[in-house]
Symmetry: C2
Subunit: 283 residues, 2 copies
Amino acid sequence: MVDCVVIGTGAAGVSAALTLNALKVNFLWIGNKDLSIKIRSAEKIKNFPGLHNVSGEDMKDVFLRQAQSEGIEITDGKVNGVYPTDGGYSILCGKDVYETKTLILATGVEAVKPVSGETEFLGRGVSYCAVCDGFLYKNKKIAVAIESEEELEEVKLLAQYADTVHLICIKKRVECNLDNVIVEDGRLTQIKGDMRVKSVVCGDREINVDGVFILKQAIAADSLVHGLKASGGRIEVDRSGATNLSGIFAAGDCTGRPYQYAKAVGEGNVCAYSVNAYLNSLK
Amino acid sequence: MVDCVVIGTGAAGVSAALTLNALKVNFLWIGNKDLSIKIRSAEKIKNFPGLHNVSGEDMKDVFLRQAQSEGIEITDGKVNGVYPTDGGYSILCGKDVYETKTLILATGVEAVKPVSGETEFLGRGVSYCAVCDGFLYKNKKIAVAIESEEELEEVKLLAQYADTVHLICIKKRVECNLDNVIVEDGRLTQIKGDMRVKSVVCGDREINVDGVFILKQAIAADSLVHGLKASGGRIEVDRSGATNLSGIFAAGDCTGRPYQYAKAVGEGNVCAYSVNAYLNSLK
């Protein structure tokens, strides 16, 4: 069991990791080994103290080098769920499970809202994880919604299990030339069913499926953690970064506006201190 | 009248200024032209995202260059008081008065607690400003408490007015070879009087004086602004940086722990956004 898990490799996650490291807290940092796509995609940042007129790509390089030179490693992976345990939380990450006493959510903010039915059928036909749940759909029909080409590896894995994969592109069209993968036109607008998923609405068509995989870089943090208090998709925190759940803290865009690097970095730092104080209070 | 005044040139002030500038808010930034002494004095900073293993001196250079290249100027001066006016606040800064709609306090945290009697006799014999109040003590006896050699210019000014200056050093001993300046041993521990100041206690001696000047780099923000809600010297703010007073926001060490550059930078950024929203709400 580690003392803390940081989920997210944006600016808030970087700041939390650097400060946890400075405070000598035993922690695990889960996210994208190359940091979050969102950092990298910024064109030009003018108001971040210390890095003037940098591109997101440059900022990513500086942050990554800094973490590496402190010997901080990133566990590459996407978290699919967080479950309370005795004395902490279990973090499901692909097929791995990590046990931790505390958690810092630095999961960013989703540009895309959940689709109608997505939250309702989660665990009843809706999955965020090809690696964990793919085998459930052997010889079945599934829909897979993806954000970018980065998810194609997971699509290929699912295509090995499923009879037919209806591939729905959330943003721009992605090609896939496997025999049993049909790239659909139109957006995913609804997931329908009763006890379980029965169909998806894609553009003006309804397609019968046994399950839906939604593969995105970020999952709304309040979908990840049952009972986490959030409003309008933003996690509610106090000034120490504490959420309504004991031992869970949140930092950065996932706590709301302004969506700014400086704000994220500040909150990541504060959360690291709050985690340290919380761990000391357990002793 | 400007839209915003930022008081303080530490990390929080730098961040607030950069973001106000980016938001095109018309603001004035008051502090030390060479940024706050506290930034400069840090030995090595390991956990500030973007600047790895920098000294305070290096960080100061980077911040200062960044502000300059954005064309942001610092109004060199110390603020002696903040007073409510119609539609905003008057900022007393030496002999100058600035009118503003909003205020960001980024005044840092005082290492030195106020002396017994300091707050009680403020304006009744206790002054923070040699330039504003020196003339009141023509041919009188005064005590002047200073933090460092940086205040010697003000001591010399006071010595031109006063009959005798008892110079009390708050930190290490500072020499002054003017005929009417007596450098006292011992610390300033108490200010006594009834309607007005009558004496100071310095070490084990009581010295009769007509007034006391306390010349420090930072003044506790809750002494500056009457009615500002603070506890233990820390200004109370919500997550937007808002204080209990309309239009006054606070960021950085003056809002409490952790005393960290990243936290200060985050809060300065958030305050700038809050000021912008507040100004828009006035339109």
